[in-house]
Symmetry: C2
Subunit: 141 residues, 2 copies
DNA sequence: GGTGAAAGCAAATTGCT
DNA sequence: AGCAATTTGCTTTCACC
């Protein structure tokens, strides 16, 4: 489906998704209308799912980033899924293989906030918490 | 620094970072120039770090998503950090607290690819692998 | 698939409040 | 902080290749 030119466009949009088609076209020697056509096709096919921003969580008032892995109590999975979707602290969450069933990435104001968050999770499972100390490299989704 | 109007703009850009200032302004009853000014200030302050896209990893040819937690061997941390930054499979990586030292999120073609990836990591530490089965809710960075 | 032309919009600057 | 007006550039569509 997608060819090398498409992947070049994706690589450019990864770095700055607000660039104009004209600007993208300059970088890959293609007309703005062709760039637009290709982008539109990638959107329509679902390859490009959308455009979003990168935020500095510290400047958003979240001094703590962490992830929690949850070993869900028997029969509590459905309730946990619904609950987790509703928390604004949750940045992403997955079902996973291994000793734990859920991975939950969170951004929090401080340690008290973390404590309160964990207190909510213990209704659904046994949490293991890992604080994020620093990022390595750049995001590359 | 940032007020409620700024956060409204951020919420809109989270959903679609390619919207025009005019369109954002319509949604929050603000002129395009004011929206632009506010966005620019948030970029300059570092609150908004950039704009990127959401991709469907399956349609990108990556049928396996996983994360690996690495317990680094003594003296191997620096080498591991350099190495990990260079792998295109790595979507994000953190230093973390707990039994393991590094968290590495990856997107891979298939199980063979995962095996090869793990084989590279075992030079630096002891890996624990968790496959991602499905996402819960939407990304919310 | 790619292009270029034309109409309609958006971005960016400026000056005013 | 916000707005309107301007110029400059971009988007979008479409006929053509």
């Amino acid at each position: 489906m997608a060819d090398d030119i498409d992947f070049k466009i994706i690589d450019i949009l990864k770095i700055n998704s607000r660039l104009s088609y004209a600007e993208i076209g300059k970088q890959i020697f293609l007309s703005p209308s062709s760039v637009r056509e290709r982008v539109k096709k990638m959107e329509d096919s679902g390859l490009i799912q959308g455009y979003t921003l990168r935020l500095d969580q510290r400047l958003m008032g979240n001094n703590l980033e962490a992830f929690i892995m949850l070993k869900i109590f028997s029969g509590k999975l459905k309730a946990a899924l619904v609950e987790i979707e509703s928390y604004p602290e949750v940045k992403e969450a997955f079902r996973i293989t291994g000793q734990h069933n859920l991975y939950i990435r969170i951004a929090l104001k401080d340690q008290l906030h973390l404590q309160q968050f964990i207190d909510k999770l213990v209704n659904f499972g046994e949490p293991t918490t890992h604080l994020i100390l620093s990022r390595i490299g750049k995001e590359n989704f």
